[in-house]
């Protein structure tokens, strides 16, 4: 994800850095810090911290993974073929709901995918953009690949078993 510097003023509008003082090890660039407070964020309740963004980003959710069948769950179903469509759909929604919660949108529901509302959609996109900007700024500043989560190891092991 590459961000052009010419649009930094727009990006700053979507940043909510109120939690940054609580993260002493992470400092964003001075221009971002100075601009914050002059331009209100679109999502007032956003609370994603850069550290949380980095940790969550390493979960590495991919579309292919969401569409993969859960073999342990299939063993307990009488007719697993009946759920071939519903399981990936639920996996996608679950992953998206988790991401939304990290972005500060805690009321994301199935209706937001099936019957999106303009006002709610704008709020959700603002949260996601907020997350993307904080994540990008933190990664640029830290320049380190981040913490390995157990899920990542699980995925690698899973792929090894599958191949």
């Amino acid at each position: 994800m590459r961000l052009r510097c010419s649009n930094i003023s727009i990006l700053v509008q979507h940043l909510d850095l109120r939690t940054l003082p609580k993260q002493p090890s992470i400092n964003l660039s001075p221009c971002v810090r100075v601009s914050y407070g002059l331009l209100p964020p679109l999502v007032q309740t956003h609370t994603a911290s850069p550290a949380l963004c980095l940790v969550y980003a390493n979960v590495a959710t991919r579309k292919e993974e969401l569409n993969m069948p859960v073999f342990t769950a299939h063993q307990n179903m009488a007719w697993p073929q009946l759920h071939e469509d519903s399981i990936p759909e639920l996996a996608f929604w679950r992953a998206l709901a988790k991401l939304m919660a990290v972005c500060g949108v805690n009321d994301f529901a199935r209706d937001d995918l099936a019957r999106p509302d303009p006002k709610r959609l704008r709020k959700q996109l603002s949260g996601l953009i907020n997350f993307a900007k904080v994540n990008s700024s933190a990664k640029t500043r830290l320049r380190v690949p981040v913490i390995e989560l157990p899920f990542s190891n699980y995925r690698r092991n899973y792929e090894t078993v599958e191949t």
Binding site: M1, N7, R62, L113
Partner: protein
């Protein structure tokens, strides 16, 4: 607000029309594709 969102989405390499954001109930598939893309970009391999 919508133009700002459109600009930021373009920064994230996703093009969506203003109408799709202002009338999402008529563009459910577009909204879904947008969420799928953002989920993959923000938590997928590209995010690392």
């Amino acid at each position: 607000m919508v133009p700002d969102i459109l600009t930021c989405l373009e920064e994230l390499s996703f093009t969506v029309s203003e109408k799709e954001l202002t009338e999402p109930e008529k563009n459910v598939q577009s909204v879904r594709r947008l969420f799928e893309y953002l989920l993959e970009v923000l938590t997928g391999e590209a995010a690392l």
